[in-house]
Every structure is written in C-alpha cells, then in structure tokens.
Amino acid sequence: MASDTTSVAPTGWRARHAGTIRQWRLYAHLFRRSFSSMLGLFLVVLFLVLAAAGPALAPYPEDTMGAVHLDNRLKPPSLTHPFGTDEMGNDILSRVIVGTRTSLWIGLIITGVAALIGVPLGIFAGYMGGRIREVIMRITDVFLSVPGLALALAIVASLGPGITNCVIALSLVWWPGYVRLIDSKTLALKEELYIEAARAIGARTPRILFHHILPNCVSPLIVKASMDMGMAILSAASLGFIGLGAKPPSPEWGAMISVARSYMPDWWWYALFPGLAIYLTVLGFNLFGDGLRDILDPKSRGR
C-alpha cells in the first residue's frame, strides 16, 4: 500500500507515512490501555528472550544436554537449584529455560507450516468459488471433524514417537483452520467495490490476490497465528506427556512432566515448574493475540 507512488512529491519519511504512524500510535495506545494485553506482551517477550538467550541464562547449561549427576537426584528447590533437580540430578530451572527454545521452534514450525498450506488453499477456494471451493472446503471439513489432538495421536502413533513426528502430525492437523479463516475473509472481500473495480480495469488474478486480498487478510492472520503459537506449544506438550513427544535429553516441557508424573506426589517440584512454563507461555500468546484482535479487528471482540 505504502509503495504506491503519487504525483505529489513526498517530504521526508515521517510526512509520507503520517497516516500509518497515526494509525499505529492509536493501536499502541489501545493496546497499552488493556492490562491483559500488556500482560500477554510481557509474557511473550519474556518467552522470546529466554528462547534466544537460553543456554547463556541457564545456571547449569550442561544439564540440558543429558549430564548425569546421580548423587544429586531429586533435590527439592533450594538456592543452588531454585526449581530443584530431576531424577538424573539435573537442574530443573536450566532445563525449563532451555525448553523455551524447543517450544518456540515447535510453535513456529507448526503455525508456519499450517499457514503455508492453509492460506493459499483458503485464498484459492474463496476467490475461485464454485466446484473448486466445494472440494477444498469439504476436505477441510473432514479434517476439522476430528478434534486435533485425537487426530494427531493417531498420526504420531503410526509414525512413531519423537519430536519431528509430533510436529509433522500437528502441522497436518492445524492447517484446516487457516483455510476456513482465509476462505471466509476472501469471500467477503471479493464482493468489495474496489476489488470489482480492479477487476473491471483489467487487473489479472494474481495481482488481485497479492495486492488486494492478501494484505487485507494479514491482520486476522496475525491474530490467529499468535493465538495458535500458544495452542501448538500446548498440543505438542500434550503429546509429549502421553509419551509420544520429544526424546531425551533435549528438554521438552511435556516430556518432562510425563517423566515427573511417576515422581508425584513426593517430588512435586519436578512436575510443577515445567507445567508452569507451559501455562504461562500459552497464556501469554493467548492474551497477546486477544489484545491484537481487539485493536485490529474490533468487531469480533469477545468471540
């Protein structure tokens, strides 16, 4: 949008983008006003920082790569090990911190792959309409007819456990949501006057799709993706808990809880902290996404 050249000579970057800047200021203002959005932002930033600088921040980085300290097993939280130690004598705090990185890439890949499959299909279905849309949407519906976790369970069970298979399974389960979203958005946009106009003056389909429809899908897409980051992380952790997820020694929160479970209730800290990490991460992404929706897509607030 901003790249469109106009006949009036622009004076400086600020002036040229005054409208956009004003818009973003308003967004920022609205976002700041909401406590829950700011809480979400804080949690997401914290998560990203830990993921980026994980090994540097972890007090015992070697414990995250499968060290063995059998003399230091299952120690309760203390000053040296604020979250206690696990059954191999590893520092749980370090493992939780480094686990953020695992979770980040799990979330990114799942949402990324899902969007990569779902968005083109959705735009295509919505724009072409007719038979093609019917076929795409019916297949989408079939995938949506089984709750994601049950479907992912079946896929992982057949591919075999492991984090890669988990991610594959969840990506396969995740894309239909994007098709639905983008399809309905495209359907609505297609009828808009300016699209009709573009078509009337002879713009070709790819141009319409990329210049007019896709940019208008961006904000709902961002909202959905940020919410999905959290849910994807949660689902992967769930599969890890069932015993089909990440493999040792790479620290993954769900798998940690799965092991920790047989150490309940006497060694409670082992399950407590990884779970707290999952909870706060997912909460962060959800609040953040919720806040974004409020400002980007005010009509659907509360849905």
């Binding site: 406590f35 809480l39 019916r138 049950a150 069970a157 849910m231 769930s238 809880i257 309940m264 909870y279």
Partner: protein, 335 residues
C-alpha cells in the same frame, strides 16, 4: 425442508467416508508390526505370520481397505490385536465412562460459564469483566494434564478430600448396568454410597475437562449478551420500567442462548478429544485411555475406532446444529 435435510444427509455420509479413508491411510503408514508384539518375544516368523493372517494384516493395503470399509458398513470396526476382541465391543464398554465424564464436565461448563458470561457482559469493563477475561483465557491455556496432576496433588494427596484416580474405589462393584453411567445407575438402583463414591471420583477429572469449554462458553455468552443488551427491544423494555434483573435473565439470556448452544455442541466433540489427556491422568477407563494405550502398542484398529467414534459424534452434532439453524432461519435452506 426435505431437500435441505437430504442434502445435509448426503454431506454427512460423505464426511464419514472421507474421515474413514484419511484415518485408514494415516494409521497404515506405520513401520511397526503389532503382530510381532502380540506373537510374543520368542515367537518364530511363522508364528507371527499365523497372527498376521488371523487379523488380515497379510493382505495388500487396498484389500485391507476394502475389507475395512465393508466391515464398517456392517457395523464392524475390526479386532484389537492386543485384546483379540472386536473393537466395537470394546468401544461400547469404554464409551459410557467417557460419556459420563463429558456430560458432567459439560454441565459444569454451562453452570459456571453462562452466569459468569452474563455478569461480565452486564458489568462490562469492570473488574469482574477483566478478571473473567483472564480467567477464561487461562482456561484455554492450562495444560489439562498438568492441571490434573496439581489438583490430584492438592485435593487427593494433600487434603485427602477426593480420590486420586479411577471411577470407583479400588474394588467397589459397579451398579448393575442400566445406562452404564455409574451416577445414573447407582441412583436408579438406590445405591447411594456408590453414587457418592462415583461423584467424588468424577469431580476432579470433570473439572479439568470442563475448563477450556467453560472459557469458550463464557466468552460467547458474554459477546451475545452484549449484543442483545444493546438491541432496540431491550432498550424499549428498559424504558418500560421492567426490572433490570428480569430483563437480563428472561429477555436477554433467552436470545443469547442459541449461539451459546452452538458453541456447546462444538465443544462437545472437542471435549471427547481432550479425554485422551484427562483420562490418562485420572486413569479413567474410557475411550481416551483406550486410544492412548492402544497407540502405545501400535494397535491401530482401536485408535482408528476411537477417532471414528469421536468424529462421528462431532459430525453428528454439527449436523443437528445445522438442522436447527436451518429450521430457525429459512434463508439458509435455499443456499
């Protein structure tokens, strides 16, 4: 209307067939060999073949698919290689436990979600609204398995108020089956001690299961209430001096209920999926636990059966919702 229902029925059948095909393909890319597992550790190759033949695993994939589809049409979902029994029989045995859990969880979700959704719409942007919002987002964000473990730790182990897991005490005999829902059966049979036990056992798992559902019911209800409260006739009712409480509970709530019902329907299927986690945590002998246990043994027919059952419930409920909407809104029928 007949045409509308007919169309939907065709679609319904198509969805089931699609689901079946996709699931069949997914569960058959497996490298594992459940026959080998069941033949025993020392079994020779020809003993493994005996089992493969018995379960039709020696046939080609298209043949197996044809056999499976044929079976499904006759109401046969194959045999579990672990238990050697027909999957249908096992589903019938495990499903009531799951259904009971899901129904109680749904009840909790509605009982808590609807009033709080109402409150937060009426007191919009107050502290109640904010607290409710964080609470409802939390509901979705809480890892069910972890939350379950924490509840067990606190209520069962620490306070000793509630049992840790299972449907009844270790060796309490279940009530004579009528509906196979222990809560209902024990009441019908007049076994009040068993009823109390069953109730104690179901509280924690149902609470965990209801949380995400509760959150979405709450949010939808809130949104609908907001919309209804701003509509003309409510404003008119208010102007006519009808008491606020009556307006909210009678007029507004009634109108906000339809979308809420729709979300309840959607969430029902979703809950069936989540039982995979909750039943694992609480050792609840339902289809979720059955699916997980079978998955860990690479026993695919049961996994397939459970997924199909859940998918069927889900599609069926959506079908009903569709019909309800079509009935209420004639414009939809012509589309």
């Amino acid at each position: 209307m007949v045409l509308f229902v007919g169309k939907r029925l065709v679609l319904f059948g198509f969805m089931l067939l699609g689901l079946l095909t996709i699931m069949f393909l997914i569960t058959n890319v497996a490298p594992g060999d459940p026959a080998k597992l069941m033949a025993g550790q020392n079994a020779t190759q020809d003993m493994v073949e005996t089992i493969r033949r018995e379960y039709g695993l020696d046939k080609s994939l298209p043949e197996q698919y044809a056999v499976y589809i044929g079976g499904v049409l006759r109401g046969d979902l194959g045999r579990s290689i672990v238990s050697t029994k027909p999957v249908v029989d096992e589903l019938l045995r495990y499903f009531p436990a799951t259904l009971e859990l899901v129904l109680v969880a749904m009840g909790l979700g509605i009982l808590i979600g609807v009033p709080f959704g109402m409150l937060s719409a009426v007191y919009r942007d107050s502290w109640i609204d904010h607290a409710t919002r964080i609470f409802s987002v939390s509901g979705v964000a809480l890892p069910a398995f972890w939350f379950g473990l924490l509840l067990q730790l606190y209520f069962a182990v620490h306070l000793e108020w509630l049992p840790v897991s299972g449907r009844l005490e270790l060796i309490t005999p279940p009530p004579e089956p009528i509906t196979r829902l222990y809560l209902v059966d024990s009441l019908l049979r007049g076994e009040f001690d068993t009823f109390r036990e069953a109730l104690q056992h179901i509280i924690l798992p149902a609470l965990v299961l209801s949380f995400p559902c509760l959150a979405s019911i709450l949010r939808v209800n809130r949104a609908e209430m907001l919309e209804v409260l701003q509509s003309d006739y409510i404003v008119a009712a208010r102007a006519n001096g009808i008491p606020a409480f009556r307006i909210i509970t009678v007029y507004a709530l009634k109108n906000a209920m339809l979308p809420t019902l729709a979300i309840i329907g959607l969430r029902f299927g979703w809950m069936l999926g989540s039982t995979v986690l909750v039943e694992t945590v609480f050792d609840w002998p339902g289809i979720g636990l059955y699916a997980v246990q079978s998955a860990l043994y690479s026993d695919f027919k049961p996994v397939l059966g459970v997924t199909l059952l859940i998918g069927f419930c889900f599609i069926f409920i959506n079908f009903l919702i569709d019909l309800a909407y079509g009935w209420l809104d004639p414009r939809l029928r012509t589309q």
